[in-house]
């Protein structure tokens, strides 16, 4: 069923504008979907920020930058990524180590690296791209489906950056980067036996994590997630308020800029991580389903584009990126609606914030590149 859907999307784009877009290495379908999403996101942000036009302008600048980066990256042949992968990985790991040694941060976490005091950047953002790139590079020269030794190496490649990021500490990003790396393994044909084994291992390791590794605030998040009412004014406040916002939206919503939960500032972080609650309150279930459908179209199209990649490296890399994108969507909406713990993941391309937009658009650049460089 999903396959038919993807093919239909494909037929449309292939007919139109073949020559110019072909030269620009841009997939019109994906570009249109992204533009719709981003434009819609600006409207949501305008309401969620309390009609803060300045914030909307800044978000537009981030989008502009993001699309520019996407266009640039789309021009690069996937072979270049393959060649650069190990080097970028080494640079990325070095940067993560530097963060732990000389990084700057806030709220008890060190995540930023200051470059000559001129600007700051988050190496963990880059690793969101570089980790799957590295794993894809490694697997592309190995026999697939991967064998035990290969799997072991891949786990090492994935958990090294994940561990360093976890140390910052940033559990959410560490898990997402681990997921991105492991997704490559899944696309490479990891056998179901291994998947089952992994699940069993996670269940066994969980108690060890809880008692030995996790920080108090991380435990608190999990506890609050399991029972938000236990601390309604502390960490449970966010979840209770966001669920109230979503639920009170009903089928049709309270109308744009009419959400009492969000407009009256009951909702915390309403223009960043919890923006979906604003949207759900104001646009109701209908609006939510439209947004979910839009995300699904983007992901399905992305999977199709990845599967059309020229070689194994390109397919694995692009496939992992697009599914990671979906995981962001799922984790964010899941946490805001109260089925996942609060881990601090923005809603892709809707939440306010330049870093996440740039990283995501770079990923779409890669996917464009993989899809558009297939026949040369």
């Amino acid at each position: 069923m999903a396959g038919d859907f993807i093919r239909q999307l494909d037929d449309g784009s292939m007919q139109r504008g073949r020559s110019i877009l072909q030269k620009l290495h841009i997939d019109l379908t994906m570009l249109s979907l992204l533009l719709i999403l981003c434009a819609g996101g600006l409207f949501i942000l305008y309401s969620a920020s309390g009609q803060n036009m300045g914030m909307v302008y800044r978000q537009m600048v981030y989008f502009g930058l993001g699309f520019f980066i996407m266009f640039v990256i789309a021009q690069i042949d996937p072979r270049w990524f393959q060649m650069a992968a190990p080097w970028m990985y080494v640079v990325g790991i070095t940067a993560l180590l530097l963060v732990l040694l000389i990084g700057v941060g806030a709220k008890g976490a060190q995540r930023w690296l200051s470059v000559f005091g001129m600007f700051r950047f988050q190496p963990s953002e880059i690793m969101k791209l570089v980790t799957p790139m590295m794993v894809a590079w490694y697997l592309s020269s190995r026999l697939l489906p991967p064998r035990v030794k290969v799997i072991a190496v891949v786990l090492g490649l994935v958990f090294l950056p994940a561990l360093l990021i976890f140390k910052q500490p940033d559990l959410g990003t560490a898990l997402l980067i681990a997921a991105a790396g492991l997704l490559v393994l899944l696309f490479a044909g990891l056998s179901s036996r291994w998947i089952a084994l992994a699940i069993v291992t996670i269940l066994a390791v969980a108690p060890v994590m809880w008692y030995g590794v996790m920080h108090d605030y991380q435990k608190q998040r999990v506890l609050t997630f399991l029972n938000p009412e236990s601390d309604p004014l502390g960490s449970g406040w966010n979840i209770i308020q966001s669920k109230t916002a979503i639920g009170s939206g009903g089928l049709e919503g309270k109308g744009w800029m009419q959400g009492t939960q969000s407009q009256l500032e009951f909702l915390p972080e309403r223009h960043t991580d919890f923006i979906i609650a604003v949207y759900a309150e104001e646009q109701g279930l209908i609006g939510v389903l439209i947004l979910l459908a839009l995300y699904m179209c983007i992901v399905m199209r992305g999977i199709y584009m990845a599967s059309r990649g020229r070689d194994t490296f390109a397919r694995l890399f692009a496939g992992a990126l697009i599914v990671t994108f979906f995981i962001y969507v799922f984790v964010n909406i899941g946490m805001v609606s109260g089925i996942l713990p609060v881990v601090g993941v923005p809603l892709p391309l809707i939440s306010y914030g330049g870093t996440s937009i740039v990283t995501l658009m770079a990923a779409f650049g890669v996917i464009m590149s993989v899809y558009m460089h297939r026949r040369i």
Partner: protein, 618 residues
């Protein structure tokens, strides 16, 4: 599969398979999210819609304005002044230590303010309830806080009406004060009516008339944002202010008494024999009740608590003193009532008295005695103890006790005076129960002099004198005259004191006038310049059992071992308008200490030429 070489076709097939799986996986998870949203937005819509409405609409209670208190001439004694205080809602403060630091640099916080705040922060409170940090902000401080509002989330400047007592220490004990409600008080009070109230009456009239003064809570249904800022008032029910009280007390008399005490330890209670209205009720030394309204500082409180003069102690209603010879007019009436003597009988006073079969010598205060011809009148004028030993012995405890009890000794008779002590009028049962011994004749002799076990508060002495001045007509002591214009009803009035021969009232009055007018009178110094007929009786009470404390310096210790001076009086004799009881601790000579204080107060009250209340600003 056992390929040893990479096969691009196989790898592409693997990927395609996995891509299908991924698409399926994505589809399933989207359905999970959609399902969750359907659950929240359709199934549980009602629940969350009402939750959201409750979030938005808050019932904000409005504190009623506390009733005002005036003296009998309309002088304002307790008012409500606008005051700005700085409060914090901890749930909304992002970084508490930084916020406190910033506030400290802006307006300055004393260590105590911070300490109080920390304490309140830790104790139980309603979520999102604001905690006061600093009271009585100056205009400049408010401006500084407003300008930095942006950096101080959760910090508010609240305007409220704060109780103020313009007369300060003059009325501290009798009026009392309001203070912050504590947990036990919160549980005791109506949770709805007191929802918006921060302070309640702690002692005195403020406490006794709490219900009348408080008023009724109002509310506003308001739409607020999460910061608690009110955006819109949806519905409103105004609060009803508390009732205003007009007291029987006279601010001029309070002031006069305070001036006359001049910091000496003691108490004065003045009453109106026609009504029982309390005209003055002073306990000296006093304190500034305004200190307590916003929570007194430790330093101030410790100073008050640890002062040897115990300024916080209300001597008027809780100070228990042996009444001494001030009891003689009452006891003298008892002698006549039970026929043990008459106005004519004379006794010899050698300066001492002895009982048969008792070796103890009961001494007169005057070692040489009062002479050969002491009748009842002279026994009152000169305060002859020997006469009273003899007649008390004749009367006996079983007659003395019920007779004195009629005047309210050993009882609480005040109508609206909370917390007063009943003191002690001993009898046989009491001694058996509390001393484990039977009543001896010597105990009767001591009682006949207002000594021994007997104790009375200044309020009781004033009440008894008041009943006496009204020739037995009873009125319970009442502080309040009108509640919102409605006179206070006098319930459970004790039976009037009826004596067999009413002429004895006038004859005893004549004797009491002699205390002032006779050349042997114990308060003859008071007669100069007297413009009305004053009847009085002096008394001294021995100070027993003062604890030796090494911190006391010897001079202070000596001073504190002197006798207490007591004085009861009323005037004008022909139609009494004021009855006064005065105690000066360690005052020794009543005629020189307690007497003049009483005289000044009576002068002030009866010489009504100056306009009332003009000395004070309204």
């Amino acid at each position: 599969m056992s390929f040893d070489q990479k096969d691009a076709r196989v790898e592409k097939e693997i990927f395609a398979k996995r891509a299908y799986l991924a698409a399926l996986f994505v589809f399933v998870l989207v359905c999970v999210l959609a399902g969750r949203m359907v659950f929240l937005q359709i199934t549980q819509y009602e629940l969350y819609a009402s939750k959201s409405e409750n979030n938005r609409v808050q019932l904000k209670t409005v504190e009623p304005i506390r009733g005002l208190i005036f003296d009998r001439n309309g002088v304002l004694l307790a008012e409500n002044l606008p005051s700005h205080s700085l409060t914090l809602v901890p749930e909304r403060v992002k970084d508490m230590s930084r916020t406190l630091k910033l506030i400290n640099t802006l307006v300055g916080l004393s260590a105590e303010e911070q300490e109080n705040f920390e304490k309140k922060l830790k104790s139980y409170r309603r979520p999102y309830e604001a905690i006061p940090l600093k009271y009585r902000l100056e205009e400049e401080e408010i401006a500084k806080l407003m300008v930095n509002n942006y950096f101080l989330p959760g910090v508010q400047v609240e305007a409220e009406l704060v109780r103020h007592y313009p007369m300060g220490e003059d009325f501290a004990h009798v009026l009392g004060y309001v203070g912050q409600m504590n947990e036990t008080e919160k549980k005791r009070l109506d949770p709805i009516q007191y929802k918006a109230t921060r302070r309640i009456g702690k002692i005195g009239i403020e406490r006794y008339y709490e219900k009348e003064l408080h008023g009724q809570v109002g509310y506003q249904k308001v739409e607020t944002n999460a910061q608690g800022r009110i955006l819109k008032v949806l519905e409103k029910q105004s609060s009803i202010p508390g009732k205003n009280l007009i007291l029987n007390l006279d601010a001029r008399l309070q002031r006069t008494a305070m001036e006359e005490f001049a910091g000496r330890r003691g108490s004065l209670v003045a009453m109106d024999p026609e009504t029982g209205g309390v005209l003055a009720m002073v306990s000296s030394p006093s304190f500034d009740p305004n200190l307590f309204v916003n929570g007194i500082s430790y330093k101030d409180y410790n100073a008050l608590r640890d002062s040897l003069d115990t300024p916080l102690f209300d001597r008027a209603t809780r100070g228990q003193y042996p009444p001494g010879s001030t009891m003689k007019p009452f006891i003298g009436l008892a002698f006549l009532e039970y026929g043990v003597t008459n106005w004519q009988e004379e006794i010899k006073d050698p300066g001492w008295y002895m009982l048969e079969n008792d070796e103890r010598v009961y001494r007169d205060w005057k070692r040489t005695g009062h002479g050969e011809h002491i009748d009842l009148r002279h026994a009152i004028i000169e305060s002859c103890d020997t006469y009273f030993y003899e007649m008390s012995f004749r009367t006996g405890i079983d007659n003395l006790h019920p007779f004195l009890s009629q005047f309210g000794f050993g009882k609480n008779t005040g109508l609206d005076i909370g917390n007063a002590l009943p003191a002690l009028l001993p009898d046989r049962e009491w001694k058996k129960a509390y001393r484990g011994r039977s009543w001896y004749a010597g105990d009767t002799l001591n009682l006949g002099l207002g000594q021994g076990y007997m104790l009375a508060t200044p309020l009781q002495l004033a009440t008894a004198t008041n009943v006496y001045a009204a020739k037995g007509k009873w009125h319970r002591a009442k502080l309040v005259q009108l509640i919102d214009g409605v006179p206070l009803e006098e319930e459970d009035r004790p039976d009037d004191v009826v004596i067999k021969n009413p002429e004895n009232w006038d004859k005893m009055n004549h004797a009491m006038e002699g205390v002032i007018q006779h050349y042997l009178g114990t308060a003859k110094a008071l007669k100069h310049g007297l413009t009305y007929r004053l009847a009085a009786k002096t008394g001294t009470a021995q100070v027993v059992g003062i604890k030796q404390n090494e911190e006391y310096d010897s001079e202070a210790l000596l001073e504190r071992q002197r006798d207490h001076a007591l004085f009861v009086s009323f005037a004008p004799v022909e139609a009494p308008k004021i009855a006064v009881a005065t105690v000066v601790e360690n005052g020794e000579s009543a005629g020189k200490t307690a007497g003049p204080i009483s005289r000044k107060v009576i002068d002030r009250y009866l010489n009504d030429d100056e306009p009332k209340g003009i000395a004070y600003e309204f």
